[in-house]
């Protein structure tokens, strides 16, 4: 994510923007927690990529170790209730979490930014409708709506992502709408409009680049929220279906054996907590870096 900011910096032409992004990058590097988190997340991505080609054991292979056996040299994180290797399953779980987290946020950015830009720029009835829908969504427990949706659509990775996007696009849309509303009155937008620029050009050429900072921050905070949603659904048994492991379902499986084999529940719980933490620290760091006024 931090490198993404650096890449973006090179694409932005105006010198004022460029210094904004390089300033942000410098501030981000000074934030120790954000830096540690970035390193952890890079490692996590590498582990998830590695898991495509290699896991110590097949994640669904049953009975390769004594059931409930604790960590050993052959099985670093021990085995679960049917004798599967916990480490191998944890690695696949990392894949699932990252796909859900990043995948939903990509879709949320597309949906939220489009809706937000259009509502904020054209205002009128479109804005009223969007605002109404957003307010309705805020009034109901989003996670439970996602739960019902997955339940209706049937549990699969795609459906989980769809359900999370449906319940989580409003934050992004609301933020982008607000940014657009305030920006469309600013001089440089007025100037662009006066010089006959098309709305598409104004929206994507002028407003969007200026709202990019908050969008990145919002999306970064959205990733752990989505991962949490998936874990929640899988924990309840309506998410990722066996034998594919998810950190949520692994924790749920382990809880019954809490007394005899706590490692089964601890491994995914700790992995999940640290991952969510890393994204949140990174989000904090990005926010402080991109919007210095928000500090303190």
């Amino acid at each position: 994510m931090a490198t993404a900011a650096a890449v973006v910096a090179r694409e932005i032409p105006s010198p004022e923007q460029a210094s904004l992004w390089s300033d942000a990058w410098r501030r981000l590097r000074r934030n120790r927690m954000a830096l540690i988190s970035t390193i952890y997340l890079v490692l996590l991505v590498l582990v998830a990529l590695l898991a495509i080609f290699y896991t110590p054991y097949r994640m669904s292979a049953v009975g390769i170790a004594p059931t409930y056996s604790g960590p050993s040299q052959a099985h670093l994180l021990g085995a679960d209730g049917v004798g599967r290797d916990v480490l191998s399953r944890l690695m696949i779980g990392a894949q699932i979490s990252l796909i859900v987290g990043v995948g939903t946020q990509l879709l949320v950015v597309v949906v939220g930014v489009t809706v937000g830009l259009l509502a904020g720029y054209y205002r009128g009835w479109l804005d009223s409708v969007v605002t109404f829908i957003i307010n309705v969504f805020y009034g109901i427990p989003d996670l439970l709506v996602a739960l019902i949706l997955v339940f209706l659509l049937g549990p699969s990775l795609t459906n989980i992502i769809i359900a999370i996007v449906v319940t989580r696009w409003m934050d992004m849309a609301r933020m982008v709408r607000g940014q657009t509303l305030s920006m469309r009155e600013r001089e440089f937008i007025e100037a662009a409009r006066a010089s006959g620029a098309k709305p598409v050009k104004i929206l994507f050429g002028h407003i969007l680049p200026n709202a990019l900072g908050p969008i990145i921050v919002q999306a970064t905070f959205g990733v752990p929220a989505a991962i949490l949603f998936e874990a929640f659904l899988s924990f309840l048994g309506v998410g990722i279906q066996p034998p594919t492991p998810s950190w949520g379902s692994m924790a749920a499986d382990g809880i019954a054996a809490l007394r005899i084999a706590p490692h089964i529940v601890l491994a995914p719980s700790i992995a999940l907590s640290i991952t969510l933490m890393a994204f949140n620290f990174l989000g904090d760091g990005l926010r402080d870096a991109l919007d210095p006024r928000s500090r303190r």
Binding site: M33, Y138, G139, I140, P141, D142, L143, L144, L147, I148, F151, L152, P224, L228, A231, F232, F235, L236, G237, V238, G248, A251, A252, I255, L258, R259, P262, V265, L266, S269, I270, L272, S273, L276, M277, F279, N280, F281, D284, R296
Partner: protein, 318 residues
Amino acid sequence: MLTRGTLIYIGQRIVLIAFTVLAVSSIVFLGIHRLPGDALFSEHLHGQQYELLLHHYHLDEPLWIQYRDYLTGVVTRGDLGESLVNKGVQITPLVLRELTISAEVGAFALIFTIGLGLVLGVVAAVRQNTWVDYVLTTTSVIGYSMPNFVIATFLLLVFAVWLGNQTDGAFYYQIGGGWTGSIGQIWLPAFALGFPYASIVARLTRASMLEVIRQDYIRTARAKGLKETVIMVRHALRNALIPVTTILGPLVIGIITGSVIIENIFGIPGLGKEFAQSILNRDYAIVIGVFTMYAAMVGVANLGVDLLYVLIDPRIRY
């Protein structure tokens, strides 16, 4: 405090809540009932037996008749129908009974969340940029990064497994155990429910306090010779609470959502456990009923928050 205007406002809001609840209930009802494979799903039933059951639940009628009957039942009698899995079990009394259990745990969680969050937030703000502040702001990120089921697991591990023998029965979760209803057992699930949100309240309180501490009226209070604790509590915190109140709505939603998992882990026979169980059992009628109840709870909670604003901020009148 309760002016005529406020009462009219409350009345309007209650009507609005009622309509929202009906709308949510309808959407869920229609969404579920247009599922392929009927709302009633069971592998064990065949032929005539199945037909009889369909008829018992009026599932053989056209959807719009079912919906009309359902709606009439809800509006006129508050009747949410009958469980599809456990024949003969009326949903409304079931859900109401479970609501009292969930509300008890939820209320504890809410009190705990707000109390802890406020104290930590104020301390962090007053000690801004010291190690206390640094530790608190960092741990608050850890706090809201921990899923509630992870916190619940850790609590169970510590209290049930490692200290298990000494505190046997001092927590909800016992293998083969159940609800015993004692207040003494409530704090573990309440902690697990509230902790992530306590971190958020703490962060918000800190930011809000830092904003308020810079205000001119705090300087006035100092110039009067008030004690620092009086300034912080009476003058700063009162004002800092105004933005913090905004989070109470999402907080209630969060606790409701969290209860679906926490009640399962701790074996609390409340609304959340019922909801999760019914989803897994495919007992649609209960799913709709519980969700309707949730919509009503969120509506009432948001109304409560709006009224709280009036209490905290004299500038707000409805």
